[in-house]
Symmetry: C2
Subunit: 136 residues, 2 copies
Amino acid sequence: MDGKIVNLKSKIEIYKAMTDGANFADCPVRNVMQGINGKWSPLLVMALAEKPYRFGELRRLVPDISQRMLTQTLHELQRDGYVHREVFPTKPPSVEYSLTDLGRSMFVPLYQLVQWAELNHHAVRDARAAFEAAHA
Amino acid sequence: MDGKIVNLKSKIEIYKAMTDGANFADCPVRNVMQGINGKWSPLLVMALAEKPYRFGELRRLVPDISQRMLTQTLHELQRDGYVHREVFPTKPPSVEYSLTDLGRSMFVPLYQLVQWAELNHHAVRDARAAFEAAHA
DNA sequence: CAGCATCCCTCCGGATACTG
DNA sequence: CAGTATCCGGAGGGATGCTG
């Protein structure tokens, strides 16, 4: 239990924060990560980071999302405080989605990760090809 | 189609990179993100960022992961080039897992996101509580 | 326009038992 | 010790049709 072991756990302890120590199931850090890591969540956050969008605009911007998943993902992002939903009582009604301060704050590190993915997806693709070849 | 619209798409275009334009289904950036965003992947990358671990050590470090998921997640991380798997021909055999250069590179932005989650999970929890209260 | 409701199916992921 | 194999329940997510 010397300094090395303390240092050894410093990264994973972030995940253990506020957990009862027995498991990670209800770890709050994991909860937040799970909310960000949906299939469509990062894509929609990236879009809304640019400017507010209305529902139909998002549909056209992301053509292959089902309307069910668009509704549901926006609902979750709103519930977690990343997205603000504003209804304009026109007829027919229009609804505008925008990032909150919390959403813009979260966007910063998310964007870093997406940029990493853009720069390195070739390396990942090559690694997968090499792995498949080795196990053929 | 003025400058504003061009700027409007600058963030989401990262996701569209190398896609045929019709959908995001086979977008390489999304593929990379999906590989990172598994239920256990970030946690294991965090652990291996500290030092190499053997299989059993990881089991004890993350008590509530099933051994099936530990095997599978490590396999995927190895396939995508993030993790190196080295077998020592002792008896009984021991297997050590460690991050590759690519894995350490990916860890940098991932760590930023995890740190954000640690700093802001209270805000997310409060937002959820307020949302549930408003829709009660 | 901006959704909600329903059906249905895939696959993620846990529990358990067995192996080199 | 470090896995593989099998079973199975539940959540994730697409397609379609209806509403204010």
